[in-house]
Symmetry: C2
């Protein structure tokens, strides 16, 4: 129970950064190496590596064994756990969308 809570905290903390979310969005299209990831973000390889370490520790990505390239790949389990936690609150956000929709009519 406590472990699960900690895992969720680590996942949410890793997602609390726009660059890390952009990296995940890029990886959703397919595996990529550090240099492939660094290009579109115009940040240093070191900065990308640091973000990848945070994502890897949170179980959000896995990295290949190739010592040079180590392509990164999305891992679904932690994302699923975060989505599962939020799912319990669906009635609250569905309700707020309903109200928004009503307001727009």
């Amino acid at each position: 129970m406590i472990n699960q809570a900690d895992d969720l905290s680590t996942t949410f903390a890793a997602l609390a950064d726009p660059t890390r979310r952009a990296i995940l969005a890029r990886l959703a299209k397919g595996e990529a190496t550090v240099s492939e990831l660094a290009k579109p973000f115009s940040i240093s390889l070191q900065a990308v590596s640091k973000h990848l370490k945070v994502l890897e520790r949170a179980g959000l990505i896995a990295r290949g064994r190739d010592r040079q390239l180590r392509p990164s790949k999305i891992q679904g389990k932690a994302l699923g756990a975060a989505a599962g936690w939020l799912e319990d609150y669906r009635s609250f956000w569905d309700e707020s969308f309903d109200r928004l929709e009503e307001h727009l009519k």
Copy 2:
């Protein structure tokens, strides 16, 4: 675009704490005052107030105007935005559940 990214970061950061998630779980059952929230967690009123401020800043709760009681209430919009972001990755976590299911057979 940048604002939306920041809002999402603030939401995920607020969710990256087991006590704050437990407070939201309690508020899912109905509005509660600071002292009502402090009881089951056996933490100080000050600590609860601090967590509530983080949740309020992230738009996850709103607080009543009553100067003394100020009951807290869940706000769905930020939770919905977080769930919406995760929804884009559904294929990854569905896939990992499929693999788990297959493994368990």
